[in-house]
Subunit: 329 residues, 4 copies
């Protein structure tokens, strides 16, 4: 059993949200105080998912705001080269900068990040820069939770969801919770609930569902989350439990479980974005939900073994090979 | 034909939003530069409506934030004396002040206001200060559009609407558009649409509906507004056209027209709030929609002939007398 | 012995800083929660001093910023009618409002105020709006401490002091400390010291000198203050001790004491501004320091017995009469 | 002829201001869009000067604020390892980040930078974090112009200058003008004048002097600048004219000219900081002004031929060798 999309559309998926810069320490397994060199990549959850989807062969568009500087130019060129339509990536004219993420890989288990998100250009996307003509050309609108963290990006994302619903574009809400951009947990819960209730598919970790429900971490239960959201619009809910795998719930009452694949882990960054891109690829290509969960897990297992989150996104062949290797065992 | 409410509730209506101070020039028919004395009243659309409803005999509660100073004390005492439950009026502890409105009455046709809304306490109501236990005790939650203008009041109002829906409390959305508190028309349109789609009854002027639809003033049409909103939750829409009267549309397809009553106009302030309070009174008391429109018009006609917007709110007897006098003619 | 000014100048005194609105409760001897009517006056320390000086017959100019609304129009007209040159009172074009002071007179001993200073227009005076051509026409530049509280008014005031020194205009620094406009006591101390060191005459209460010296209230000593400031530019220091009178110190080593006059006190507001205006009048008219201290005390005694701070400013005759009545005793 | 310092002090020089992170593109001679790797260095004018002075053998202290993260730790450790006393480098506890400078070297003539200065930790140094006990232990306080750009760092720097003057510590003001941190040119001119008038030595480019005098670039004249500042406290003024060399003016009326040394230029960054550190070293070590100008020029010539601004700071031997090589010619 799969999930139905409106097929007479130009784009398989249009993502809205941030496209930023990752600066990954070139030296592994040591604290950042001792690293001297950083490698530059495009980063940010919806950009990574867009790149992942494009690499898998989907037709992808992006709505976002990038700075009018060298980092902005790099982001746009990289995404265009990855095959993404960048016609709705707006150049900021008010001096905002690209968000930055410095990553530190002390050990596979101990990774941390240092974020520069103050006045990040992506948070200044205006609702007037979100166009119905563009959104209505998509099967799917992917909304990243971080796009809701501050105004005016928040209003731009809410407007995009309204336009998607009006034009029968499926809304995928990737919770993508990053605490540092939000004022309070209460505020996050208000907007996460608001958008989740209007989405068709919601994807997040159990902790992110807890945040949406304004619960302490670890206090939520999948069944309660499912009961609540199925009173509203969603048709498919994906809840991720880390190494224990993930669960997919359908409105029809089916429950599917996906298992994590083993991998030689270099770092944990990028797992969620690669998971989402391969899961969406599979759903959009009409595969059933069980297969989609396998695609997500396989893609995540590949990316955590490599240095970047965007550049490392796998091909369909790589994913299928990993799945088939694991099924032989 | 009327409108159904959940009757096993303690409060007829709980309003959420601002309660402020009006400073009305004591001297009429001259520019404010020449006035030397101001009379102090409680003001702010939802406070006025709450006072109006209470004076008509409804059981009323209020959710809002007031300053920790003499103006805040005055507001709370005045509303309590008017019979309103003030247990959920929170005292601001961060130094915010009461919003102020200086009014100038140059002539009945030429009234203007001078607003102090910078860091007004009401805009600092937090979502954590909105309690489900309180809201679920009401038949009706009245949300004022201005409560959506800034964070965190915006999130508090969105949360209140969510709690109302969860607990089968009817949501009345009074558009109450005040441009000076909003960053842009686009931003207003995003939140007005969002809440209107989730409300049971929407009340506003034609211009306010235009604002919600992100149209130039005068470009909107009632039928289009009605077609759009009846795809969502609303069951009753009231659109006001000033001296030409008002229209009420039901989901069932009925259209009712209300006519404005003649009055010796002193000033135009307060007309909308008195209209809303009497209309809501009539609906909650089970009167049919035609009667409710008459109540609204009669109440407005009385208030515009007096000096204040809150203190001047009429009784049921006064309203019924005005209606019956007009029907004799 | 008096104080020398440069006499070939058009203006006796140009004041820089705020001109605002006072709203004085019309009803005395009760808490503001119970007052219903407010009378409107021009207020703000440098505006009051300018009005006081003009009423005493000095030629006065004013540098400040007022809002583009009815309150701004009122302020400008009132000051012009009081004989003040308003050519350098700039109209704010960014929507800032007039500062407001609601006064409450519970009893002569218990007066309090409720301030609206958020984004007050006076604090938005730009350095580019301070003109050398104007300042060089004055004998005296009066700088109010509150003008230093926020940027860009702070930079405008610092620029004015530099231009005054360059053009041999005496700088009078009235400390006028209002805690609510400052971020911290440390910040106040930095700018108060900076300007006091460059001023010719400094006037303030003992508490205000303590603030300048970053001391706890009551920890300062006049002799230490005097020793410190006479290492820099000042030639005359006036330190006020409330009902115990005031002291004037000269660089030459003279000390003069002024005594407070008895008065039927209605409220304490306005005492400092009326004191400063009459003291400055006397010094500019060439009277000796002892006489100037008497003028200050007499003017203060008259204003505290009346309802306003600006409108109540006395004439020379009233002051001289009060002094002569007291000397007879 | 040299310049006299108070010699019974522990520190030769204490610098106040920013210590940040430089991220220099590892690949030269190409646009940043095409560079993939960045090398990390400590940067920021006063930090560079402090490192330069320490490497030359001076005893150096530093007053500044650094973030509570990996970048902050790196900065502090690097400076301590360079021999600088870091006891007055305060750890920010409010989440501010290290300023970042990405550098791009397209060609020796075409270098550009991309700054992250939004809420940079150094700009949050509080006046209460500047201690008289520390400053009075120094011969010289070096103030960087950028420290004046925003509050509260601005007040911290003004306070430091006041304490230096009180304790007979010579104040060196390095104009170090960076437009992106200032609100307006007028604002810069106000604070630059204020501090320059109170400094003992002022160092800057001709363009920076123009900024201080609120002139269009290129409109200033050295003689006018000199005439104005010698009416106040300064005893020595250094004005740099790029490849045409620099001029030093003394209050006694002497004028000295320094010449730029030829160098294989890799990039232009760091020239000013290396110039200042070597000039100050020479003056503090009692060398005459002509020699000090040579030291400055030689140090600059060495740094522009290397990749970083801090790590590349030369030793005394390297400087003396370059001078002697040039004098042989």
């Amino acid at each position: 059993m799969g999930f139905k999309f409106n097929n007479d559309r130009i784009y398989d998926i249009i993502a809205i949200g941030r496209a930023c810069i990752d600066l990954n320490a070139a030296e592994y397994n040591r604290p950042m105080e001792e690293t001297m060199t950083f490698s530059k990549y495009v980063g940010g959850s919806p950009a990574n998912i867009a790149i992942g989807c494009s690499k898998l062969g989907l037709k992808v568009g992006f709505i976002g705001k990038i700075p009018d500087d060298q980092h902005g130019n790099f982001i746009k060129k990289y995404m265009a080269d990855a095959g993404i339509n960048t016609s709705n990536m707006v150049i900021d004219k008010e001096g905002h900068k690209a968000g930055l993420t410095f990553t530190e890989i002390k050990s596979p288990e101990e990774c941390s990040i240092l974020m520069y998100r103050e006045k990040a250009a992506d948070l200044y996307l205006n609702p007037s820069e979100v166009h119905e003509e563009y959104i209505k050309q998509a099967k799917v609108l992917l909304v990243s939770g971080t796009a809701l963290a501050q105004s005016p990006s928040r209003e731009a994302a809410i407007k995009a969801v309204g336009l998607a619903r009006k034009n029968d574009v499926k809304v995928i809400f990737e919770l993508d919770y990053r605490p540092y951009t939000w004022k309070s947990k209460e505020e996050t819960a208000v907007y996460y609930s608001l958008i989740a209730e209007q989405a068709d598919i919601v994807i997040g970790t159990r902790d992110e569902y807890d945040t949406m429900e304004n619960l302490e971490e670890g206090m939520g239960e999948n069944q309660k989350s499912v009961n609540f959201l199925f009173k509203h619009r969603p048709g498919l809910l994906v809840i991720k439990h880390g190494v224990e795998g993930s669960y997919a719930y359908t409105r029809a009452g089916d429950v599917f479980r996906g298992h994590a694949y083993k991998s030689r882990v270099l770092k944990t960054f990028g797992a969620g974005d690669s998971y989402a891109s391969a899961l969406l690829y599979a759903l959009i290509r009409g595969k059933d939900i069980e297969t989609a969960l396998k695609f997500g897990s396989a893609s995540a297992a590949i990316v955590v073994s490599k240095h970047s989150s965007s550049e490392a996104m796998p091909t369909v062949d790589e994913i299928e090979q990993l799945i088939s290797e694991n099924e032989k065992k």
